[in-house]
C-alpha cells in the first residue's frame, strides 16, 4: 500500500500569461482516495489534464509507478491504466450505453479489422466477453436494463454513472473523477459516494477526485490537497485541512479564518 501510483513533480502549466498550475507536487498512494479541492479556477481540472495527457506541462514531470508519462499520447496513457471522467459529461451520446462501455474496453481488446471481416475465433470470443463484461460494469455502477438505450437519452444521474462505467471498462489502476457529484441531489450524492468507495474496496482502484461537496470530500478521502490560483496551499488528512487557515481564507477571502472561528464558537455555545 505504500507505493506511490502517481507523483507530480513541480508540474507547471502556463496558458499565455496565466500560470494555471504552478509547481504542484503531489504524491498519491496506491489504493487511496485522494481529493483535490479549491475555489473555481484554481487549476484542478488543468492538473487532471496534465496527468491524463490532454496537456503537456511546461515544467516538471508526472511519474506513474516511477515512470515519466509527461508528453505521452493520451491514448497510450489510457491503455496503461489511467482512466478519467469529465466535469461536463462527455459521453458518446448517439451510441448505446453498452457500446459506450465497450469503447471503454477498447485498449484491452486485440481484435482488428481483419478479424471483424472474417469473424475469426478471436473476434467472436472478444465480442462475447466484452458484452458480458460491459453488462457487469453497468450493473456495478447501478445501471440495470438500460444497456441498449442511447447514452444521450439517459437522465443526468445515469449519465454520470455511465461515464464511470466507461472509465472502468479499461480496468484502470487509477481513476480520475472530475466533480462526480456535480448537479446531483443528496440521495444521488450518497449513492455516488458509496460507489466511489466500492470501486476502491472491491478493485483496489486508486481514485483522484475533484469535488466541491465538502461532505463528500471529508467523508471518503484519505488525503486532501488544496489548490488556489494554481498553487498548492495545503495538503493533509481531511481533519487537518478543515482547520487550516490558508484553506479557509482561500474559500472565504482574507479574514475568513477569524470569521469561521467566530461562527464555530457561536455554533458551539
Amino acid at each position: 500500500m505504500s507505493t506511490n501510483i502517481i507523483v507530480t513533480n513541480k508540474v507547471t502549466k502556463i496558458f499565455g500569461g496565466l500560470t494555471a498550475v504552478n509547481q504542484v507536487d503531489l504524491e498519491v498512494k496506491e489504493g487511496s482516495i485522494f481529493s483535490i479541492i479549491g475555489p473555481n479556477g484554481a487549476g484542478k481540472t488543468t492538473l487532471f489534464n496534465c496527468i491524463s495527457g490532454f496537456y503537456t506541462p511546461e515544467h516538471g514531470d508526472v511519474l506513474y509507478y516511477d515512470v515519466s508519462i509527461r508528453g505521452k499520447a493520451t491514448n497510450n496513457i489510457a491503455s496503461i491504466g489511467i482512466s478519467r471522467t469529465y466535469q461536463n459529461i462527455r459521453l458518446f451520446s448517439n451510441l448505446t450505453a453498452i457500446e459506450n462501455v465497450m469503447v471503454g474496453q477498447h485498449p484491452r481488446l486485440k481484435e482488428n479489422w481483419l478479424d471483424a471481416v472474417v469473424h475469426s475465433p478471436r473476434f467472436k470470443r472478444e465480442e462475447k466477453t466484452s458484452i458480458l463484461e460491459g453488462i457487469k460494469w453497468l450493473n456495478f455502477v447501478g445501471l440495470r436494463g438500460i444497456a441498449n438505450s442511447p447514452a444521450g437519452s439517459l437522465p443526468y444521474g445515469a449519465q454520470r454513472k455511465l461515464e464511470i462505467a466507461r472509465a472502468l471498462g479499461s480496468k484502470p489502476k487509477l481513476l480520475l473523477l472530475d466533480e462526480p457529484t456535480a448537479g446531483m441531489n443528496p440521495q444521488e450524492t450518497l449513492e455516488m459516494t458509496s460507489l466511489i468507495r466500492k470501486m476502491r474496496d472491491q478493485f483496489n482502484i486508486t481514485i483522484i477526485l475533484i469535488e466541491h461537496d465538502m461532505h463528500v470530500v471529508m467523508g471518503i478521502s484519505d488525503h486532501v490537497a488544496v489548490l488556489d490560483f494554481g498553487n498548492k496551499i495545503a495538503e493533509g488528512k481531511p481533519a487537518e485541512i478543515q482547520s487550516d487557515e490558508r484553506v479557509i481564507e482561500a474559500y472565504l477571502g482574507p479574514g475568513g479564518a477569524a470569521l469561521a472561528e467566530k461562527y464555530r464558537r457561536k455554533k458551539a455555545s
Binding site: R90, I98, R144, N148, R166
Partner: protein, 521 residues
C-alpha cells in the same frame, strides 16, 4: 374567425398561384403533361403534349391547393372546408388567368419572348391556353384551378367524415396487423426457413433479372450499383469515422485509371488483364488514402473538407494536364479498355457486368456491415462522436482515422475499376468535383451510416434522373425540392441510422457475480 378563414385561404391561394406562375415560366407543365401522356401511352410530337394533359396538370395543382387550404380548418364543418378550398382555388385561378391574359396578348400579337424566357414559344403559350380561342382559354385557366380548388376542399371535407376516417383506420390496422403477422411468422421458430426462402428468392431475382430486363436497365441499375459501392466507401469515412472528405472521387479516379492504363491499347498497351488491374487499383486507392490522410490527421471538420476538396481537384487536373498527356491520355481520356475474362472466356456483356457489379455491391455491403459491428466500428463511431474523449478512452485515433480513409478509398478503387472497364472509357471529366458531391449527397439523402439508406440514396440520386429522362432539364429543380422536403421532414435522411440492439445475456442479479469481474488481468 371568418377573417382568419379568408386570410389563410388567400395566402394558400397566392402561394399556389405563384408556384403555378413559376412552373409555367420554366415549362414545367408541358414536361409533366408529357409524362402523363407517356403513362397514358399517348404518342405526341415535339415537347408539347395534348391539351387534356395540361388541363390534368392544372387540375392536380388546384386540388392540391384546395386540399392545403381546407386542411388548415380546425372546426369540423363541411361548408367551411369547401369555402376554404374554393377561395384558394379561385385566387390561384385569378393569378393563372392574369398570366393567361399576358400569354393571350403575346399570342395574338405574335410577339416571341423566347429571347428572355427560353421555353415561351408561341406554340407553348397556345398550349397553355389549352389550344382554345383566347377568351375561352383564359376562362378555362381560371375555371380549372377554381373548380379543382373546390374539389380539393370537398376531398378534405369528405376524408374528415368519421366513416371515411374509420374505414381508413380499419384499412391501416389491417395492413399493420398483416405486417405484424408476417413478422411473427418470420421471427419465431420458422425464422431460419423464412430467411432461406427470402434469400433464395433474392438470389433468383439477382440471377435472372439482368438477363431479362435488357441492356438499358442493366446500364441504369449498374450505375446505381457503382454508386452504392462508392456510397458505402464514403460512409465508412464520413458516416462512421466522421471525417468530412470532399475529394472522394479522386480515389475512384485512381481505380479507374489503373484499370485503364493497364488494360487499354493506348497509351501503353500493357494488357495485364482485368483482375490484376482491379486488385492493383484497389490497393493503389487504399495507399492513396493513407498518403492523403497522413498530413490531414490534425485537421477536423471544415478544414478537412477544404483540403480534401483540393486533393480531388489536383488529381483531376493532373490527369487532364499536358504534362501527363503521354502517360494518361490527357483530356481525351483512354478508350477501348478491355473487359474481364473468367477462365479464359470473355465476361464482358452488359449482363456479365451487371453480375460483376452486384458481386461488388454484395462484397462491399458484407465488409461494411462486419466492420460496423466490431471493435473497429465502435472506435470509428467514438471518434465521430468526440475525438478527444475517444483518445482518452484509449483509441488510437490517428491509426483508426487512417484505416477508415484507406478502406473507404479501397471501395472507391473497386468501383472505379469496374466502372472504367464497363464503359470501356475513362476521362478526367468523369472525376470532377460534382461526382464527389453526388456521392456525399446520396449518403446524406439516404441517411448517414447505414446500408439501406445508401442504396435508397443511390437510387434517388443516380437512378431516378436516368429513369426520368424527360426531367433532364428539371433535374436540379427536382433535386433542390427533394432536398428541401427532406431537410424539413426527415432531417436525418430517408432512413436514419439506428444503433443495434445487442443481445444481452441473462441479467446477473447477485452481487456475487459482480465480483467475478476480476480486476487483475
Amino acid at each position: 374567425m371568418n377573417k382568419t378563414l379568408l386570410s389563410q385561404s388567400l395566402r394558400v391561394g397566392i402561394t399556389f398561384g405563384v408556384i403555378h406562375l413559376f412552373l409555367l415560366l420554366i415549362g414545367f407543365n408541358a414536361m409533366l403533361g408529357s409524362l402523363f401522356a407517356d403513362i397514358a401511352r399517348v404518342k405526341q410530337s415535339g415537347s408539347i403534349p395534348a391539351s387534356i394533359f395540361l388541363v390534368l396538370y392544372c387540375a392536380l395543382l388546384g386540388v392540391w391547393a384546395g386540399y392545403s387550404a381546407a386542411k388548415k380548418e380546425d372546426a369540423n364543418v363541411f361548408g367551411r372546408k369547401l369555402v376554404r378550398g374554393l377561395i384558394a382555388g379561385t385566387v390561384a385561378g385569378l393569378i393563372s388567368a392574369v398570366v393567361s391574359i399576358i400569354f393571350a396578348v403575346l399570342v395574338t400579337n405574335k410577339i416571341d419572348p423566347r429571347k428572355y424566357l427560353a421555353v415561351l414559344s408561341l406554340d407553348f403559350m397556345r398550349a397553355s391556353l389549352f389550344n382554345l380561342p383566347v377568351v375561352q382559354g383564359v376562362a378555362a385557366n381560371f375555371g380549372v384551378l377554381a373548380g379543382a380548388g373546390l374539389a380539393g376542399g370537398l376531398l378534405t371535407a369528405l376524408s374528415s367524415f368519421s366513416k371515411v376516417k374509420h374505414a381508413w383506420k380499419n384499412f391501416a390496422g389491417l395492413v399493420k396487423g398483416g405486417l405484424e403477422k408476417i413478422r411473427y411468422c418470420t421471427s419465431g421458430k420458422y425464422h431460419l426457413l423464412f430467411k432461406i426462402i427470402f434469400l433464395v428468392v433474392l438470389a433468383a431475382a439477382i440471377f435472372f433479372l439482368p438477363t431479362k430486363w435488357g441492356s438499358y436497365w442493366n446500364y441504369v441499375i449498374g450505375t446505381v450499383g457503382i454508386y452504392v459501392i462508392l456510397g458505402l466507401g464514403l460512409n465508412l469515412i464520413v458516416g462512421l469515422s466522421g471525417q468530412l472528405v470532399l475529394g472522394y472521387i479522386a480515389f475512384f479516379a485512381i481505380g479507374a485509371y489503373t484499370m485503364a492504363l493497364l488494360n487499354a491499347p493506348e497509351p501503353h498497351n500493357l494488357m495485364w488483364g482485368f483482375w490484376p488491374a482491379l486488385a492493383l487499383g484497389v490497393v493503389l486507392a487504399a495507399f492513396a488514402g493513407i498518403l492523403l490522410g497522413l498530413p490531414l490527421m490534425r485537421l477536423r471538420g471544415d478544414y478537412l473538407a477544404i483540403v480534401t476538396l483540393g486533393f480531388g481537384e489536383i488529381i483531376r487536373i493532373l490527369l487532364k494536364s499536358d504534362l501527363m498527356t503521354s502517360f494518361t491520355g490527357g483530356p481525351r481520356g483512354i478508350q477501348d479498355i478491355k473487359g474481364p475474362t473468367i477462365f479464359g472466356q470473355p465476361f464482358n456483356t452488359d449482363v456479365n457486368f451487371m453480375y460483376l457489379i452486384i458481386g461488388g455491391v454484395l462484397i462491399s455491403m458484407f465488409i461494411y456491415n462486419r466492420l460496423k459491428h466490431s471493435r473497429t466500428g465502435r472506435a470509428w463511431l467514438s471518434i465521430r462522436e468526440d475525438e478527444t474523449v475517444a483518445r482518452a478512452s484509449g483509441v488510437n485515433t490517428v491509426k483508426y482515422k487512417l484505416l477508415a480513409l484507406a478502406l473507404g478509398a479501397a471501395f472507391a478503387g473497386l468501383a472505379g475499376g469496374i466502372f472504367a472497364s464497363r464503359n470501356q472509357f475513362t476521362g478526367p471529366d468523369e472525376h470532377a468535383l460534382m461526382a464527389s458531391i453526388n456521392v456525399l449527397s446520396l449518403i446524406i439523402v439516404g441517411g448517414m451510416g447505414n446500408i439501406p439508406g445508401t442504396i435508397l440514396g443511390a437510387f434517388a440520386l443516380k437512378g431516378l434522373p436516368e429513369i426520368l429522362r424527360e426531367f433532364a432539364n428539371f433535374r436540379l429543380l427536382a433535386f433542390g425540392a427533394l432536398l428541401v422536403v427532406m431537410m424539413l421532414s426527415r432531417p436525418e435522411g430517408l432512413i436514419p441510422s439506428r444503433r443495434p440492439t445487442l443481445q444481452i445475456p441473462e441479467d446477473p442479479q447477485s452481487d456475487e457475480e459482480n465480483k467475478e469481474v476480476s480486476h487483475v488481468d
